[in-house]
């Protein structure tokens, strides 16, 4: 049974612990006076982050957890403050005394520690990696994030679904349309509406557009990290073109505010021409890049994620598909009718993740051609009804889970689990038998979000 998410909600006098599995959702109620639960991490190791987050957010004690360190609250965060509790209403905090964080580390003769981040050497998001090294060999790595923790779950409480939208679409810039798609599904459920097919196609077109931009960027950056800069020049040109097309269609280069309940007529013939051109460019790129042996020498067998680990850690997205798992939220009739084919590889290494991205770009182009249609449907949102709503979307990184509970017309609890939240926890499993110089390559091949993870 695949674990999707585990989170808490505050009720009067109690906390409700919700555990979402692929086929069922379990709920457990505990008292506020003695908020203690047992860990799920022995069966599902990825539950540990969810549980540590719960402790930080609400002060819930995980009785038998092997790791009780804070997750979101870092060295200078005041102790005994649990900001997700309804009683906590402060919107400013002072820095507390520095309490060192105890990293997981391997000790021994000749073993040394390497700390990287939170500010990295390039133009990327902040996060921290801690390596235990024996010379060049990586023995162990700990991923430590939440530098970008903005308190978004709290920020959205008390807002209506419409008021929350501008924030939701800016949780992660790379996945803005995926977040908006999940939001749209929740609006439809809460208003008891059925989405017209033409709007569904428009939104699906935009989601694939976002995916190809993200994948094209990676198809350049991954070879670049292996010292092949020419690929970056080529692919970054393609991703810039794609971004400009997204701007033409939505008025914004990242598609902020692109998903709504109104369909605007598109210039279909020029989009067809664009997609045809991209198809040719990708075909050229593929034959070119497959023909560089020194590059594949770096890609092959680097950063392997074993099948057993994918299963054990409930990994999602490109990372899971590159290790042979047919896990994709788009495996449903609507997508299948429009040309969707699931892309998987077996080897689970950097090469496999690179190939999955390449194949997905090609498949997305095919689908986008099917999604194009001239239409100007417009629907009005009916009254939003109170309730507990859940939605999924397949972002460029993987499965996105969103849960919004509405009470008295406003958000009572907002919870979202980015695909990165699962996959960051598997990154350390790809390190053994690799050298530290390969770390950027392995990290980039997964290309996980920090902003969506940290919230």
């Amino acid at each position: 049974m695949r674990l999707i998410a585990r989170y808490a909600k505050e009720r009067e006098g109690t906390f409700e612990i919700v555990t979402v599995f692929e086929s069922e959702t379990q709920r457990e109620t505990i008292s506020k006076e003695n908020p203690v639960i047992r860990t799920l991490a022995k069966k599902h190791p990825s539950a540990i982050w969810f549980e540590r987050k719960m402790s930080d957010d609400f002060g819930i004690v995980i009785e038998d957890a092997f790791d009780k360190r804070p997750l979101l609250h870092q060295e200078r965060f005041p102790k005994a403050i649990h900001p997700m509790q309804k009683a906590f209403q402060k919107n400013t905090l002072d820095f507390a005394e520095f309490t060192p964080y105890k990293y997981e580390a391997i000790q021994g003769d000749g073993v040394f520690q390497v700390s990287v981040g939170p500010i990295h050497a390039g133009i990327i998001e902040p996060g921290h990696f801690h390596f235990s090294q024996a010379g060049e060999d990586m023995l162990h790595q700990e991923v430590r994030h939440f530098y970008k923790y903005r308190g978004i779950e709290k920020m959205l409480e008390g807002k209506t679904l419409l008021e929350a939208k501008p924030v939701i679409e800016r949780i992660s810039g790379n996945e803005s349309i995926a977040y908006q798609t999940a939001w749209r599904d929740i609006v439809c459920q809460a208003a008891g509406m059925e989405l017209p097919l033409s709007l569904r196609k428009r939104h699906a077109f935009l989601l694939e557009m976002e995916r190809i931009i993200h994948h094209l960027t990676d198809l350049g950056f991954i070879p670049n990290d292996a010292g092949f800069g020419a690929a970056l020049a080529f692919a970054s040109k393609l991703s810039e073109d794609a971004r400009r097309q997204l701007q033409n269609v939505t008025g914004h280069r990242f598609g902020f505010d692109a998903i709504g309940f109104e369909n605007k007529v598109l210039d279909i013939s020029s989009l067809y021409d664009y997609l045809d051109g991209l198809q040719k460019d990708i075909a050229f790129f593929e034959t070119w890049i497959m023909d560089i042996p020194s590059l594949w020498d770096r890609f092959d067998t680097t950063g392997i994620l074993q099948k057993a680990d994918v299963l054990k850690y409930d990994t999602v997205g490109v990372v899971a598909r590159a290790s042979g798992f047919s896990l994709d939220r788009r495996s449903e009739p609507f997508y299948l009718e429009h040309g969707f084919e699931i892309q998987t590889e077996q080897s689970g290494d950097v090469a496999a993740r690179f190939k999955v991205r390449l194949q997905e770009v090609k498949n997305s182009i095919v689908m986008m051609k099917h999604f194009l249609e001239e239409d100007d449907t417009h629907i009005d949102i009916e009254k939003i009804k109170d309730g507990d709503y859940t939605a999924f979307a397949e972002s460029s990184l993987g499965e996105l889970f969103m849960n919004i509970e509405i009470k008295d017309g406003v958000i009572e609890r907002f919870f979202v689990r980015d695909p990165s939240f699962m996959n960051w926890q598997t990154l350390h499993l790809m390190m053994p038998n690799n050298i530290i110089a390969d770390f950027p390559l392995i990290n980039k091949s997964c290309d996980l979000s920090y902003a969506g993870n940290d919230l």
Binding site: L72, Q74, R76, F77, I81, P83, F88, K90, N91, T92, L93, F95, P118, I119, A121, G122, I123, I124, E125, P126, F146, Y147, K148, Y149, R150, G151, I152, K154, M155, P166, V167, R170, I171, S172, G173, N174, S176, T217, A230, A233, S236, K237, S239, E240, R243, R253, F254, F256, F284, T287, W288, D291, I292, S449, Y450, A451, D454
Partner: protein, 168 residues
């Protein structure tokens, strides 16, 4: 690889043929002159993300794609604050990130400037003030210039850098 060179010979170097191109050329000429005059030919930028959605970073990365190719104007993104003249700061100044941002600023040798990028560090994005947000950045750092936008497009970033160069 031979296919690549065939294509390269056949198609030549990528250029854009738009009205925008002329404007871009004029801006670039001006930037180059200013960088030459005020920074002896090379302006080094350390970009620091203090809690963004990653869109600003994506746009700064786009500055090195073949359309914009910022480096040919003498503007470089550098890996260490110790190599930098300017800190380009984006994001919400989260509680967790603020001490690291201030630390990075301290490491930049004098003279130094802070440019804020995008709506977040000036609290103009739709994000609200929570316990985890320390923005606006001007409360913590001497901000010399601001480049607005959510996110600013690459051309707007280039224009913003030019404005900064003219100002100092």
């Amino acid at each position: 690889m031979i296919q690549f060179w065939n294509k390269r010979v056949k198609e030549g170097i990528l250029t854009e043929d738009t009205a925008l191109d002329k404007e871009l050329e004029a801006i670039k000429r001006e930037i180059k002159e200013n960088v030459k005059k005020k920074f002896a030919g090379s302006l080094a930028i350390r970009m620091v993300d203090s809690g963004s959605c990653n869109a600003c970073e994506a746009e700064c990365n786009a500055l090195s794609n073949p359309y914009y190719d910022l480096e040919r104007l003498g503007i470089y993104f550098v890996a260490s604050p110790r190599h930098a003249d300017v800190m380009l700061l984006n994001g919400l100044m989260t509680f967790n990130m603020t001490p690291h941002v201030l630390d990075a600023y301290k490491q930049i040798p004098e003279p130094k400037w802070v440019i804020t990028l995008g709506a977040c560090p000036v609290m103009e994005a739709p994000f609200e003030k929570t316990f985890a947000v320390k923005a606006p950045a001007a409360d913590h750092l001497p901000v010399a210039h601001h480049i607005p936008g959510c996110p600013p497009e690459p051309l707007e970033i280039i224009r913003g850098l030019l404005e900064f160069l003219k100002k100092i």
